[in-house]
């Protein structure tokens, strides 16, 4: 298989996320600067590269919470990389270090873009789609930190709803079998039921348990 062309295909697949990811990065930069200073938010977007974890940690710090509480909130959002990594692991090649490095390109949208629907994943698609989002996320953060005060609220443009529509489109594409439909609906129901009571992150991790419907013979 031509890996190079798959990376380009992944970049094209990630293209609809360029603008919303940039906007999300801008809002992170705008909100983080008064709490974390100018350099730490940019370093965080490069090193952590997880919007959900970064926003969760930031909201704790902004509310006056300490480092431990902020780290806990971020790690709860991060825990979903575990089931996603277990799913994608068998599709990655190379030694343990190479696979660990490839694992760093796992982000929500790319994970789904790379999924072939049969349990295997295309790592070219994964890396291409992640590259687009990485550039947008870091540049957005820099713009937000530098130009925050003059930009205003990105939410007024409705850009946050782009993720909703994008994930819905991917879900419909993923729902190719009856069991995939059941897993999607069960995941949605688990998340909705847990959201009012649990810290951010827990609903998404718990929802991955819906994949266990795969244990029932087809």
């Amino acid at each position: 298989m031509d890996e190079h062309s798959n990376v380009s295909a992944g970049m094209r697949a990630g293209l609809p996320l360029l603008l919303p990811t940039l906007a999300l990065g801008v809002s992170f930069g705008v909100l983080a600067r008064p709490v974390m200073g100018p350099a730490a938010p940019i370093a965080m977007s490069i090193l952590v590269f997880s919007g959900a974890a970064q926003f969760a940690a930031l909201s704790v710090l902004a509310a006056g919470g300490g480092a431990l509480a902020a780290i806990t909130a971020g790690m709860l959002m991060n825990a979903r990389w575990l089931p996603m990594g277990f799913a994608i692991g068998p599709s990655l090649r190379g030694g343990p270090l190479a696979r660990a490095a490839q694992g760093q390109t796992i982000v929500d949208a790319s994970f789904v873009i790379a999924s072939r629907g049969d349990g295997s994943f295309d790592r070219g698609l994964l890396m291409g789609a992640t590259a687009v989002q990485g550039v947008a996320w870091v540049s957005g953060t820099v713009i937000g930190v530098l130009a925050g005060p003059v930009l205003g609220d990105p939410g007024s443009l409705g850009l946050d709803a782009i993720f909703v529509a994008f994930y819905l489109a991917l879900l419909i594409e993923e729902a190719r079998s009856r069991r995939a439909v059941v897993a999607g609906l069960a995941g949605a129901a688990i998340a909705f039921a847990l959201m009012p009571f649990t810290p951010p992150g827990v609903p998404i991790i718990a929802a991955s348990l819906a994949a266990l419907v795969g244990l029932r013979s087809a």
Binding site: L15, M75, N78, A100, P196, A207
Partner: protein, 102 residues
């Protein structure tokens, strides 16, 4: 500011470890039939959760129903009409922005 840097450093190591764990443990193995069946369903399960989460999340924990629901409806309509993905996401953003204006 020191607090911020501690959070950045620990989350960097923590996030990288979480992302590395699965690929290091399971790399290059072929899964059995049932294992593959479960793994194939992780994506739809998490996607279902993400649609709900991105639509009604109140930021921290809790639920907030707002203009994003209008965006979800617009996106769903565009998907039913089989419009291209870029039109689907723009329709959702435009509908949400409009709902916030009204």
């Amino acid at each position: 500011m020191t607090t911020a840097w501690i959070v950045v450093a620990v989350l960097f190591v923590g996030t990288a470890s979480m992302r590395a764990a699965g690929p290091v443990a399971f790399g290059g193995r072929s899964l059995s039939g049932r294992g593959a069946a479960v793994v194939a369903l992780v994506a739809p399960a998490i996607l279902g959760a993400l649609v709900v989460y991105e639509t009604v999340s109140a930021g921290g924990s809790g639920i907030e129903l707002d203009a994003r629901l209008v965006g979800l409806a617009a996106g769903a309509l565009a998907l039913v009409l089989r419009l291209p993905l870029i039109v689907v996401v723009l329709a959702a953003a435009a509908a949400t922005a409009l709902a916030r204006l009204l």
